[in-house]
Symmetry: C2
Subunit: 144 residues, 2 copies
DNA sequence: AATGTTATGTTATATTATATCATCATTTAA
DNA sequence: TTAAATGATGATATAATATAACATAACATT
C-alpha cells in the first residue's frame, strides 16, 4: 500500500499478480507464461489469459522483466526496477545478470534524440554463457 | 561469389533465401515470417518452414535483422551488417533506424567481461515514435 | 552409377499470445 | 442501500508464431 502511495500511476498488485510474482521470485529464473501456468495450476488458475494479465501487470509495476529473446519473464534482481536495464542471459543455465547502469540507456537515448526519435521502451539483452557454465559445461547426455 | 570467398564461414544464399531477401529489400520494412510467406506464395512457396529456413540463413549471413520486439525481420540498412547494431523501431509506421556505432556494444561487451560472461549475441531495440509520425500522427479512425 | 551432402518440400504439431464475452467484486455516487 | 460504474477474474475459443520429423530432390565427388 505504501507502494501505491509512492507510485500512484503504477497498477496495483492483485491476487493473481501476487501469485505469479511469488512463483517468479521463488524460481529466480526466467519462465515462459505457460511454465508459470503449470506452476500456478494448483491454485486453480487454468487459463493462459489469466497468467498473461498478471505478467503484464507485473511488468508495468517494474517488478519483473519480459525477456524478448526468450519469450519469458523473470523477476527483477532488485525489489523493483526503475528505468531500463541491460540483461545478460546464460543460454545454458538460464541464469540472469542485470545491469542497472544508466550509461548505455543514456547513450541510446541521446542517439535517438539526434534522430528525432521519441523513445518509449528500450530492450537490451545479451545472450551467452556465464562463468559457471563455461567452467562446468552442460552435462552432455550422449558424451561417450 | 566474391562474398563467399571473403566470408567463407557464412552460409550461401540459396534460391529461397534470395526470394525472401528480395521481398524484404523491396518492402524496406519489417515483415513477420507469415507476411513474407504471403508475399512469396506466388513463387510456389506454401510452408512456414521454408520461410523460416530462408530467414535463418539470411540472419546468419548478416543480410537481415531479426527484431525480437516485433517478431519480425527487416533487411539491413547497409548491404550487409558486421557486428551488432542498435535498432530504433517506430511503432506507428514500423520504420527502422539502424545505429552501427560500436560504442554501446563495446560498453556492453566490457560490462559482460567484468561479469566473466561470454557474449554470443547482443540485442538492442528501441521502440518509440519517429519524427514523421510525431508530426503527423496516425490517422485515427474514429476521431469525431 | 553410387555415395554423401545440402537444400527443398510436405505434413503435422508445438508454442506463444490475444479476443471475446460472461461473471464477480469493489468503489462511487445518487 | 441500491444503482451505476469500474476493475478484476473466469472461461472458451482462436490467432499468431515457430519447429519437428521425415521424404524427396539437386548437386557435387568419387
Amino acid at each position: 500500500m505504501a507502494d501505491r502511495e509512492k507510485h500512484p500511476n503504477t497498477p496495483r498488485i492483485t491476487k493473481n499478480a501476487r501469485l505469479v510474482l511469488d512463483i517468479l521470485r521463488q524460481v529466480g529464473q526466467p519462465l515462459t507464461a505457460y511454465e508459470v501456468l503449470d506452476r500456478i495450476r494448483p491454485q486453480g488458475i487454468t487459463a493462459p489469459t489469466t497468467v498473461y494479465r498478471a505478467l503484464e501487470r507485473l511488468v508495468e509495476c517494474g517488478l519483473i522483466h519480459r525477456l524478448e529473446t526468450l519469450n519469458a519473464f523473470v523477476s527483477c534482481g532488485r525489489e523493483e526496477v526503475h528505468g531500463p536495464s541491460a540483461i545478460a542471459i546464460c543460454t545454458d543455465c538460464h541464469g540472469v545478470i542485470e545491469m542497472q547502469n544508466d550509461a548505455v540507456p543514456g547513450y541510446l537515448y541521446g542517439w535517438a534524440e539526434t534522430k528525432d526519435f521519441t523513445v518509449t521502451s528500450l530492450t537490451i539483452e545479451i545472450l551467452g554463457q556465464c562463468s559457471q557454465c563455461r567452467i562446468k559445461p552442460e552435462p552432455n547426455v550422449d558424451s561417450e
